[in-house]
Symmetry: C2
Subunit: 329 residues, 2 copies
């Protein structure tokens, strides 16, 4: 592997000049710069970022620590984030915590050790600890969920209001016994979606305690959904707090031979590609996932550029996409 001194030797200049030439400093003779360029390409020289970063005390790497790569909501965030980061010359390290605090802790540590320039994460829960990152001054942006202490830069969606909208929509369509499968306690979006659902039913004077908690990951919501369906006073509609839960809910519905829309109203958070393909197509509360990623990226870049900025907080809205699964027929 060619080093800077190999290039220097070949070009007949000092390493300092090579460094300057390759980094496009203006203070270098054009002819020398050309010679350096030639030597570099001839040798197939690639600067060693390890050494460069050690010297510069910074890296051009951003860490994106998300809860679940198999959840389309998060991969959409990743795309938005990546698109912006790319154009700013940063590369993105995608880390998957699996909604697991141990894995999250490990990745935060990796981010710290690798001295990444910034971190975006969707905190896995109330015990998420970013103290180490903060002490080092690594910029952090929370997405989807706030950090436990609620401070710092963040890009969130008004989940409570969105859940309220979803429940209200079902009420408007004539459903009266509405159930909800939400995520684990302590995860902000799970708690807020539950709260919004409860708000709406309370306002309508209906009972709002027909809900279950489930993992936010695939597989965990089937059993809770079945329990709801088997209630002595079974629901006539169901809200799923994300698309992974929705998969299980639909599975449970199939097992009980219940057809969405006709037999039971269904609304889910998130708008996965398959939502419009199933029969009947699924009514959803679509979150602006791509935008969350893109906004978080810009926020992070701003923060990197100026640490003294006041903490920024963006609250986005989810939008109701009406399809047939919530249409009483």
């Amino acid at each position: 592997m060619a080093t800077i001194s190999d290039v220097a030797a070949r070009a007949g200049v000092s390493t300092a000049t090579v460094s300057r030439a390759l980094n496009g400093k203006s203070t270098v003779d054009p002819e020398l710069a050309a010679r350096v360029q030639a030597a570099a390409t001839e040798l197939g020289y690639h600067p060693n970022s390890l050494a460069r970063n050690l010297r510069r005390q910074e890296t051009a790497v951003l860490a994106l620590i998300i809860a679940d790569v198999e959840n389309p909501f998060f991969t959409a965030i990743a795309r938005g984030f990546e698109d912006i980061a790319q154009t700013a010359g940063y590369s993105v390290v995608l880390c998957n915590t699996d909604e697991n605090e141990e894995k999250e802790r490990r990745y935060i540590n990796v981010a710290l050790q690798e001295r990444v320039a910034g971190v975006v994460l969707s905190p896995s829960g109330p015990s998420t600890d970013v103290k180490s990152l903060r002490e080092r001054g690594t910029p952090i942006v929370a997405v989807d969920r706030p950090l436990p202490d609620g401070t710092g830069d963040q890009v969130l969606v008004d989940s409570r209001r969105a859940a309220h909208t979803a429940a209200k929509h079902l009420l408007d369509n004539g459903y009266r016994r509405i159930a909800c499968v939400t995520g684990p306690p302590g995860i902000r979006t799970a708690d807020e979606r539950l709260a919004g659902y409860q708000d709406a039913l309370r306002e309508a004077g209906l009972s709002n305690d027909l809900f279950r908690r489930a993992e936010y990951r695939a597989g965990g919501a089937r059993q809770p959904a079945l329990e709801l369906l088997d209630d002595p006073r079974p629901p006539d509609a169901l809200i799923a707090a994300n698309s992974m839960i929705a998969l299980d809910v639909l599975q449970a519905l199939a097992e009980r031979k219940l057809r969405p829309g006709r037999d039971i109203g269904v609304v889910t958070f998130d708008d996965p590609t398959w939502a419009k393909l199933i029969d009947p197509p699924l009514t959803v509360m679509a979150q602006p996932a791509y935008d969350i990623g893109a906004i978080a990226a810009r926020m992070l870049l701003d923060r990197i550029a100026d640490t003294s900025l006041a903490p920024a907080s963006r609250m986005l809205e989810a939008s109701l996409v009406q399809r047939a699964s919530s249409r009483r027929t």
Copy 2:
């Protein structure tokens, strides 16, 4: 940020001893080791991997360069890969090329500059260039598709045979005019799936030229699928070369008011979660995606441990999962 010399000073020993103690070398007095540990935790010391890696000339990072984070096939690979890499103490950098050769080139460069310990990639096409990695001796494992020169470690699926199986299945179920939407020319899996389809139809003495090429990404296959459906002699069955194409095919079917199974047989490669949820459930050629990732990880670790190993090549099989979309009714 505390450094090794801070710890050394606090523990009253030399930096060498700190290094040895923290890296668990046996040649260090237990009492001193304890003092070092104490000092390290008191100072909140985190070793600087930049410096460590520069010194060691290696990193504990593996790069996984995949074609599309939004394709469940690739995220499943990522999970398999990550699970194995984790247990071996490596962290995984996930890079998304978007089936784009420019992005791929950039990420290969990043991997090179960051001196990652190894790379797994799904080559974007015939112009994929890993020369730079090879020159440096960075271990590489190709997944899903071989490298252009076909050499080196690889984990593939027998696509041609799988496509043959899929077409044969449709023939066995009585379909006679079978069409195929495959990926771009030059992408091995796309070409092989087409070839396998053609093999089967030729063997049956049927015409095998009712096919179209499309992007492997969402959105690109709708138009080609519509063209097939509007053929003067329209197909009575359709094979999609991956699940992203399948999404578009189903969309096209809906536009032409064709119901899978009843009006037209459908089989797709890959088994996304939504396949069993749609109505009718989709017959698929399931690829062992998680295993591909896990096997590639082990192969890469073996290669890192011993560069002189003979190149390994694993060929896995896809399996037919019969559901209702290919059942003539």
